[in-house]
């Protein structure tokens, strides 16, 4: 499946882009409405972009009454990204979503770099959410931890059905003239090409640690980038920053993914799943029937 990374698309403003995906992931919803952080909120760097939006969202009440019915009419499965500041926030929102048939899955954002992190661990949040909903639960993890395998195993033990890897990593950009932070809140989350090797490593590590289904994301620009995430152990791939530059990216990346798979001898690109964990091909034998390489 091809999805969007949470916070990188508004399906109500750009429904055609959302319909080009296999599932739409909402911007993170919190218990109360949030305006988000003080502008400036985005900045480009030489290797990616920084954002500090700060979970701007209408809050769960308005989301359920106003946004969700309209999202349900899109004709695309809806994943709701859920955020909060303590475990109870996550549990409350999950239980509010549980009865809504429009919601296909819930992604627990336990790793936003732009708001104060919940004190509880990812596993505690997953456990609380697990008690509150029967929906599939995907835990979105940060790669900025000493041992992501440990976090992933704890999330699995707490009842996560899958992992979303990775969230952005905190970065800082200074104005070249004033030497002061460009972003209003100072620091922000780094996304884009700089994140790609980090995402690949996190996907590979968590695949080995849990064998849970993974949505891989981080710096995907084209079909080959997506194929590499699949090879590292991602069942699905999400597009983030590339959607900002190219709203036609879903169709393009999908087409490139098929081509990139076929060029490497895979009948379907899904067949490349986790192939990075198999022993390397010995040159001269298997490569013969993959001569298009």
């Amino acid at each position: 499946m091809l999805l969007n990374a949470s916070g990188c698309l508004d399906a109500l403003t750009a429904p055609d882009v959302a319909r080009a995906l296999d599932a739409f992931v909402t911007k993170t919803v919190t218990p109360l409405p949030r305006d988000g952080n003080t502008p400036v909120r985005i900045a480009e760097t030489d290797v990616g972009m920084l954002n500090s939006i700060g979970l701007a969202n209408p809050g769960i009440d308005r989301f359920v009454t106003r946004n969700l019915p309209r999202l349900g009419e899109l004709g695309v499965p809806i994943w709701v990204s859920v955020g909060g500041f303590e475990t109870d926030d996550y549990a409350e929102i999950c239980s509010r979503l549980d009865d809504h048939a429009e919601v296909s899955a819930i992604e627990l954002n336990v790793s936003c770099p732009n708001v104060e992190a919940p004190a509880e661990s990812a596993a505690q949040i997953v456990a609380a959410a697990r008690l509150a909903t029967r929906k599939p639960l995907w835990a979105k993890l940060s790669p900025a931890v000493p041992d992501i395998a440990e976090v992933a195993r704890a999330a699995q033990a707490a009842g996560a059905d899958g992992l979303s890897l990775v969230n952005t990593i905190r970065g800082l950009k200074l104005d070249a003239r004033t030497l002061r932070p460009v972003l209003g809140p100072g620091q922000g989350g780094l996304s884009g090409p700089a994140l790609r090797p980090i995402a690949l490593a996190a996907v590979a590590t968590c695949y080995r640690a849990t064998q849970l289904p993974i949505v891989g994301m981080g710096g995907v620009q084209n079909g080959l980038d997506a194929l590499e995430l699949i090879a590292a152990g991602a069942r699905h791939v999400a597009l983030g920053t590339i959607l900002f530059a190219d709203p036609d990216a879903p169709a393009r990346v999908r087409a490139e993914l098929h081509t990139a798979g076929a060029e490497r001898g895979w009948r379907a690109y899904e067949d490349a799943y986790a192939v990075a964990h198999e022993e390397a091909l010995s040159v001269g034998t298997t490569l013969d029937d993959r001569s298009s390489l």
């Binding site: 403003t13 750009a14 305006d35 400036v40 909120r41 090409p193 920053t241 190219d246």
Partner: protein
């Protein structure tokens, strides 16, 4: 929402700015004040630019080379190609009795197209130097001033003001013309409502400029 790969026709120097002319392809020029996202060669994110002029078969953008993206855009050669998305956002409301265009610096960018649509109404333009003021030649019927004189000193009473310029200028215009239509600017990653990066605080509320603006009523 339409995105096309278009060919650069010319880049013309206008003082410190460059007027980048691009083949229009199948894109609609849109209403004055609307904008396009232009691919900035070698950069990750496109840059938002309001349309300056819509010559037959072309789209023209006045660009100030202030950073790596805008410098790359100004350096494009005839025959180069770039991705263009648009038109985006909301432009100026044009049913007005006594329109007056007010521009500051690179904020004059959307005024030539706007002037044409309003049949060349009077304009007052402010610049930081005579060199920058060369951009005034793009706007018919314009009275120009250079710092320390400010455009707000040139705005007569009772006019329907349409303004674009730096934030302090827009705030000052709003103080003397409370009903003015103001075209705001903010860094944008996407231009189509996806990134929430272009939120600006106006009247105590955060607004997504690309969707709710860039032209907003002051009142």
């Amino acid at each position: 929402m339409r995105r096309e790969r278009l060919k650069v026709v010319a880049g013309e120097e206008v003082g410190p700015y460059t007027l980048v002319r691009i083949e229009r392809g199948g894109l609609d020029p849109g209403a004055p004040g609307q904008f396009f996202m232009l691919e900035a060669p070698g950069r990750l994110l496109p840059r938002p630019m309001s349309l300056c002029l819509a010559p037959r078969g072309e789209l023209a953008f006045l660009i100030d080379p202030i950073g790596p993206g805008t410098r790359a855009l100004c350096a494009m050669e005839p025959g180069d190609h770039l991705q263009v998305l648009g038109p985006l956002g909301n432009g100026f409301r044009l049913e007005l009795d006594r329109p007056l265009l007010v521009g500051g610096g690179i904020g004059v960018a959307p005024l030539p197209h706007l002037s044409e649509a309003l049949k060349q109404p009077p304009a007052v333009l402010g610049f930081r130097s005579e060199w920058h003021a060369q951009a005034a030649e793009l706007v018919p019927n314009a009275q120009t001033c250079v710092e320390p004189t400010l455009v707000t000193q040139l705005i007569p009473e009772g006019m329907d003001v349409l303004a674009c310029g730096p934030e302090p200028m827009l705030e000052a215009v709003r103080a003397v013309a409370p009903d003015a239509q103001l075209a705001w600017e903010a860094p944008m990653a996407c231009g189509y409502g996806a990134c929430y990066g272009c939120a600006v605080e106006i009247d105590g509320e955060l607004k997504r400029l690309c969707v709710e603006g860039p032209v907003l009523c002051a009142a």
